[in-house]
């Protein structure tokens, strides 16, 4: 884990600059309509983190992450990506460091083959052709895309399409992968593959930020959660800490995964209320019965 302070919910803690990927300082974002989408946001994303950003639609979470690669510019405050101010750096340049996978792969895919889709971003980065082919090859292997290479992306299943969308961003070699609602429209099998891919990307040293509603998926994969509600960050800390904070859950209208709810109901019998998945619950029950 990184040196980030998880005990401090307000996240005023400023981590070691060298290990910080994205640093957000006093960010305010006001939409042209006058809606104040973000208020006084201070947060940082370190290297090699698995961070979930949760909250209802309209709470500001997508608006926040769109500042990480300059898709949106702050009304007030600054965002530094590896020390570079996003106001002064174009999204095309930031894309080398921050990869952003949109919720709906159909918004992203347009090429006639999966291989072309992987090349698109690399070409935009003006890499030499042999380097492009090398990276495409690596990505294909890591994402196990061999069977789909010459297939039209639109003829793939929703799950495979998502995978291609993630791979096409991953190929560009960013250090931070932002996944917006990765589980939407994905069935169980696709979710399992998605889990493996997230694991693989984390193992390869990436930081992963996912914006998600899927609490059991978040509980399974994130080490740190940021909860947003009405343009503010209302919580920044570990997931077990979040799930016992009834005030935060009420404010953001969230419910812990069923397995966590179950563990909480049984806390009178010595079961830890900090269970995040079925495997943990099994060992908790074992421990209590021993």
């Amino acid at each position: 884990m990184i040196s980030n302070n998880h005990k401090n919910n307000k996240s005023q803690f400023i981590p070691d600059a060298a290990r910080t990927l994205v640093q957000v300082k006093d960010l305010v974002h006001v939409y042209p309509t006058g809606t104040r989408a973000l208020e006084n946001i201070n947060v940082s994303v370190g290297e090699h983190e698995k961070l979930a950003i949760i909250g209802q639609n309209g709470s500001g979470k997508t608006t926040l992450v769109k500042h990480f690669n300059g898709l949106l510019q702050p009304t007030e405050g600054t965002i530094l990506v590896h020390g570079a101010d996003t106001r002064k750096t174009r999204t095309a340049v930031l894309a080398k460091t921050v990869g952003y996978v949109f919720q709906n792969p159909n918004h992203q895919l347009f090429c006639v083959t999966v291989a072309e889709e992987l090349r698109f971003g690399l070409r935009n980065l003006r890499l030499p052709p042999d380097e492009i082919e090398q990276k495409v090859k690596e990505t294909i292997e890591l994402f196990k895309l061999q069977p789909y290479l010459d297939v039209h992306p639109y003829s793939l299943s929703m799950g495979a399409r998502k995978l291609v969308a993630i791979a096409s961003i991953f190929a560009m070699g960013p250090q931070l992968m932002i996944l917006d609602e990765p589980t939407t429209g994905q069935d169980y099998e696709s979710k399992k593959i998605l889990s493996q891919v997230i694991g693989m990307m984390y193992e390869s040293g990436k930081s992963i930020v996912f914006v998600s509603h899927d609490m059991s998926f978040v509980a399974e994969h994130a080490d740190r959660a940021i909860v947003m509600s009405r343009a503010h960050i209302v919580f920044d800390g570990s997931l077990p800490d979040l799930f016992i904070r009834q005030d935060v859950l009420n404010e953001a209208d969230l419910r812990p995964p069923h397995i966590t709810q179950l563990s909480q109901r049984l806390s009178d019998y010595g079961v830890s209320p900090r269970v995040l998945n079925v495997a943990e619950m099994v060992s908790e029950v074992r421990r209590c019965l021993a």
Binding site: Q56, D187, H258, I259, L262, R265, V282, L289
Partner: protein, 294 residues
């Protein structure tokens, strides 16, 4: 009317231009007032089954159908989608694609107006159904300005305004946030419990389905492979995993505990909800605590 809401007899269906059938010899009876959950992997035929129930198959989607679908005592092949719409309401997953009108009240009025109901009756239906989905007061709002959850409730009100006995929802929450999801589930549950509307719902979120549905159908490659009460169906963990269906966390826990011989649970009575699960586990844990005390 008898207590049978819907019946499919040996239904096989091929989409136009395909050789492999999307549904294969489906036999299914749904009783009035039931809450049926449909689960299955992508491409298992869940949406197609929904389209069969409201006449889109075969009337609008074309293709080839064998077998018989009886809704409201009438063979759908001999009826029209417009007629069936009065007995079966279908809600889709994309809230925005279901908006046909600019104003909320007009959206609800659209179906009844198409049926040629008198204007006063329509006004009354609009009032009633918006109230039912708790959107009353928003009549003059632009349909776009609503949140996803509100749009989905509007879609429900719009089909309910045609007075169907059966409400079918095809992944109604897949584009919604948790708040929107709870809004939809609470409205649907209320309709089912208080108005005895028959509900058929395709849904990924098995944890929620397990809590609210009376009966679960598992589809795999166009076949119904499991059919029964949630506890009975979801407890078959291996079979479900094999066909790519998620199992509620609580059920998974109990099957695991049983498998590891920590707690014995009968297959058929495996808890599927937090409520039931905590009661069961509390019993076991209490025994240990009591034993330790004495």
């Amino acid at each position: 009317m008898d207590s049978q809401a819907l019946k499919l007899k040996d239904v096989t269906y091929w989409y136009p231009g395909t050789e492999k059938c999307a549904l294969e010899k489906i036999n299914l009876e749904i009783k009035t007032g039931e809450f049926v959950g449909i689960v299955g992997a992508n491409g298992a035929g869940r949406s197609t089954l929904c389209y069969c129930m409201n006449g889109l198959v075969p009337h609008s989607l074309g293709g080839k159908m064998e077998g018989e679908i009886i809704v409201h005592g009438i063979d759908t092949a001999k009826s029209t989608t417009a007629e069936i719409a009065q007995w079966v309401g279908l809600v889709f997953s994309d809230p925005e694609a279901q908006l046909t009108q600019l104003l909320v009240a007009d959206e609800v009025a659209f179906g009844p107006a198409n049926l040629g109901l008198p204007r006063e009756k329509i006004a009354q239906l609009v009032q009633e159904n918006l109230k039912l989905v708790q959107l009353d007061g928003l009549e003059e709002r632009n349909t776009h300005s609503l949140s996803g959850g509100q749009q989905q409730r509007l879609a429900i009100a719009s089909v309910l305004a045609m007075n169907p006995d059966i409400l079918i929802l095809d992944e109604p929450t897949s584009n919604l946030d948790p708040r929107g999801t709870y809004e939809v589930f609470s409205i649907v549950t209320k309709l089912n419990r208080e108005n005895h509307t028959t509900v058929v719902m395709v849904e990924y979120q098995v944890d929620l389905l397990a809590e609210f549905a009376d009966r679960i159908l598992v589809l795999d490659h166009g076949n119904i492979i499991l059919d029964g009460p949630p506890g009975e169906v979801f407890s078959q963990v291996d079979k479900l995993s094999a066909v790519g269906v998620q199992v509620p966390q609580v059920t998974k826990l109990f099957r695991q505990l049983d498998h590891e011989a920590v707690v014995h649970v009968d297959q058929a009575t495996t808890p599927v909800t937090v409520e039931k699960g905590s009661t069961e586990l509390a019993k076991v844990l209490k025994k240990t605590v009591d034993a330790r005390l004495s």
